[in-house]
């Protein structure tokens, strides 16, 4: 090892040492402890007591757990496609030669920056059953009995999907950047071949940005399974008839309201598995549809 190489080795470790230290304390230890706690009865106040697979067995027979799984999946089946497709549509339109492109982009993007609490308050007000703007508008349009968005268990999930749609500007900007990176030569070639705008979209543009669509889908799945804040704030936890008791909310309740920290840890690991399975599934499907340039 030359002195220069040794110098770099020492310096390299020194520079990454904050992360190494943080990794051990804030990731490695918690991950190991979490595995251990998931096999324990643990309430933070006293020492964990080993119970084997009991927490995992309890989950199987806990109907509230299954309800939280169902709620999370149903919500995501609504919110995820809605958000991804709307964002793609807006990005495609913004990618046309339109005036005020920057203004439109800013308008779509801004809501995604809004603090979740403040956004939740605004939507609480808009979706309020009697006084809310939405129902007043529906009333004015002649719907005599508009839905009680936040009270009727049938409507709480669609309401939250609407709230999450408001924050899709993030995704719009990512799509837009990808669209601007589609090689002009591909577009021109397809125009020379006389492809209609629709065929150009399906056969050139979408395949060209498919890695980014896939990326947004993955981020959407991972974030969607952990959806917490707006539901927790707007519905004060589980919502009417536990209709918005999402997986992450149930973990939170077990950990910090019921102090079943062992059970919460076990649930967290099942969430981890669920994310893994769904991402693997998505990557399987993606293999058929995602085209990386140079393939």
């Amino acid at each position: 090892m030359t002195p220069g190489e040794r110098r770099q080795s020492v310096a390299g470790l020194a520079f990454v040492s904050p992360w190494l230290l943080g990794f051990v304390v804030f990731t490695l230890y918690p991950v190991c402890a979490s595995i251990y706690f998931s096999f324990c009865d643990y309430d933070v106040l006293s020492k964990p007591v080993w119970v084997g697979f009991l927490n995992y067995q309890d989950m199987l027979s806990d109907s509230v757990f299954w309800q939280s799984v169902r709620n999370t999946l149903v919500f995501n089946l609504m919110a995820l496609p809605l958000g991804l497709v709307s964002a793609l549509l807006l990005a495609l339109l913004l990618n046309q030669p339109v005036k005020l492109k920057g203004t439109f982009r800013a308008i779509y993007y801004l809501p995604s920056l809004v603090p979740a609490v403040a956004g939740a308050m605004v939507w609480l007000w808009i979706l309020n059953g009697r006084l809310g703007l939405l129902n007043q508008a529906l009333d004015a349009l002649g719907f005599s009995n508009p839905p009680q968005w936040l009270v009727d268990p049938k409507w709480t999930k669609p309401s939250l999907a609407l709230v999450s749609l408001w924050g899709c500007g993030n995704t719009v900007v990512i799509y837009l950047a990808a669209l601007q990176g589609v090689p002009q030569s591909l577009i021109e070639a397809s125009m020379i071949d006389g492809a209609s705008p629709w065929r150009r979209l399906v056969h050139v543009t979408l395949p060209a940005i498919s890695p980014v669509i896939y990326f947004n889908l993955l981020i959407g799945i991972i974030g969607g399974l952990q959806v917490f804040t707006s539901a927790f704030i707007m519905m004060g936890g589980a919502g009417p008839e536990r209709s918005v008791l999402f997986y992450a909310i149930y973990i939170y309740q077990n950990a910090f309201e019921y102090r079943h920290m062992g059970y919460a840890s076990a649930m967290a690991w099942i969430l981890c598995m669920l994310i893994l399975v769904l991402t693997l599934l998505a990557s399987r499907i993606a293999r058929r549809f995602v085209h990386y340039q140079g393939d």
Binding site: E5, Q8, A11, G12, L13, F15, V16, P18, W19, L20, F23, V25, T27, Y29, V31, S34, F37, Y42, V44, L89, L93, Q96, V98, F104, I107, Y108, L110, L113, V114, P115, A116, V117, M121, V122, L124, W125, I126, L131, L133, Q136, D139, W166, G169, V173, I174, L176, G181, V212, T229, I233, A248, I251, Y252, A255, A264, S265, A268, L271, C272, I275
Partner: protein, 370 residues
């Protein structure tokens, strides 16, 4: 055909933009209304100020119920406040309600309300005076109630503490994240050493761990350190670099030519000085992006403070705003809640307009590189 297509594009874009802006507009308009104008239906879009003659002088009033048909404003024996009753139900100095026996009343005022000239109940703002006057005598104009903002701040009780706590957290998180992530990114991007690639891979892998997995042990850890109930758990971690930001900065650091560092090394410059005086200044745009998103993350965080802050006096703005949802009287004071929400959102919007380009670059960067 081409023109029609263009119009369609603009129509969808404008309709979409309207839907994205509407919640903001409704929030601000509500924030500027008196409470009673948020509790009556239908809402008027703009906040209004109503004035009428009451108690001998012209002043701001609250319009109450509209009187339908010819009526009398009567004071029942023993009652404190007069009420409006149909004229046809009053005879022989007594009011004959549909249910219950007649009540002796004194007629205060004749209310000859009709379809063409309706009358309306009004009350003074402090609730001490009431009257019934023709609608035509009530004037109304658009008027923004700016004093809702100081009132909202007041009703959040510890607002200045919440703001202070939030700003401290933002500052510490930004400083901690930017410094530590830049350092670590430098180690991964610009130095050659054994074990670099596997460690970098390990760091990327940690991004896959969902927060709930580490949530409970972290809480236990901070609890055993006596930090629960203080701000410390909410910023300490930021000084130990964040995988995502390290990744972002590493991509950026790698674009700077190697020769620059080599030349400095030959001149006997220490590795830290190369990092601090050569690479960092060249990477300010990337550092600003990381700083911006860290600031927003700290400003917007809800779950962290929810878990770790226990005393209402130590809350952040996010928790304070959440606590305002129900006022002491039990109902929701929408104008104040919307005014407070506006105050919490405003810095974010200001920041966006100051650094708009950075945001768009940053968000696109994160998406594309991923």
């Amino acid at each position: 055909m081409r023109a029609r297509y263009k119009i369609l594009v603009y129509l969808v874009l404008i309709a979409g933009a309207a839907m994205f802006v509407l919640p903001f507009a409704w929030m601000v308009l509500t924030a500027l209304k008196p409470i009673d104008q948020t509790l009556s239906q239908p809402h008027s879009w703009l906040p209004r100020r109503y004035e009428a003659q009451i108690g001998g002088r012209r002043q701001e009033v609250r319009p109450g119920a509209l009187v339908t048909g010819s009526s009398l404003w009567v004071l029942a024996v023993g009652a404190k406040r007069p009420v409006v009753v149909p004229k046809s139900a009053v005879w022989d100095g007594a009011w004959h309600p549909a249910v219950g026996g007649p009540v002796d009343v004194a007629i205060v005022r004749d209310v000859p309300s009709s379809e063409t000239r309706p009358w309306c109940e009004i009350g003074s703002l402090d609730g001490t005076l009431e009257d019934v006057v023709p609608v035509s005598e009530i004037t109304s104009r658009v008027s923004f109630r700016w004093e809702n903002f100081p009132r909202a701040v007041h009703s959040m009780r510890h607002f200045s503490r919440y703001l202070g706590n939030t700003l401290i957290l933002c500052l510490l998180n930004v400083v901690g994240t930017v410094l530590s992530s830049a350092m670590v990114a430098y180690g991964f991007a610009r130095l050659e050493w054994k074990g670099r690639e596997p460690l970098f891979g390990l760091m990327l892998a940690t991004m896959m761990i969902p927060f709930p997995v580490v949530m409970v042990p972290l809480y236990g850890l901070f609890r055993s350190l006596g930090m629960v109930g203080t701000l410390q758990p909410l910023w300490v971690g930021s000084f130990f670099a964040n995988a995502f930001n390290v990744f972002l900065l590493r991509q950026f650091f790698r674009t700077i030519p190697k020769d620059l560092s080599e030349a400095a090394r030959i001149d006997g410059c220490s590795e830290f000085r190369i990092f601090w005086q050569i690479i960092l200044p060249l990477c300010t745009p990337a550092l600003i992006v990381v700083g911006l998103f860290t600031f927003l993350g700290a400003w917007n965080d809800y779950l962290g403070p929810l878990i770790y802050l226990t005393d209402e006096k130590d809350f952040t703005l996010a928790l304070g705003l959440d606590a305002m949802k129900t006022s002491e009287s039990g109902g929701t004071e929408w104008p104040y809640l919307m005014a407070a929400s506006t105050l919490v959102i405003l810095p974010v919007i200001a920041l966006f307009f100051i650094a708009q380009r950075k945001f768009v670059e940053g968000i696109a960067l994160t998406g594309i590189k991923g």
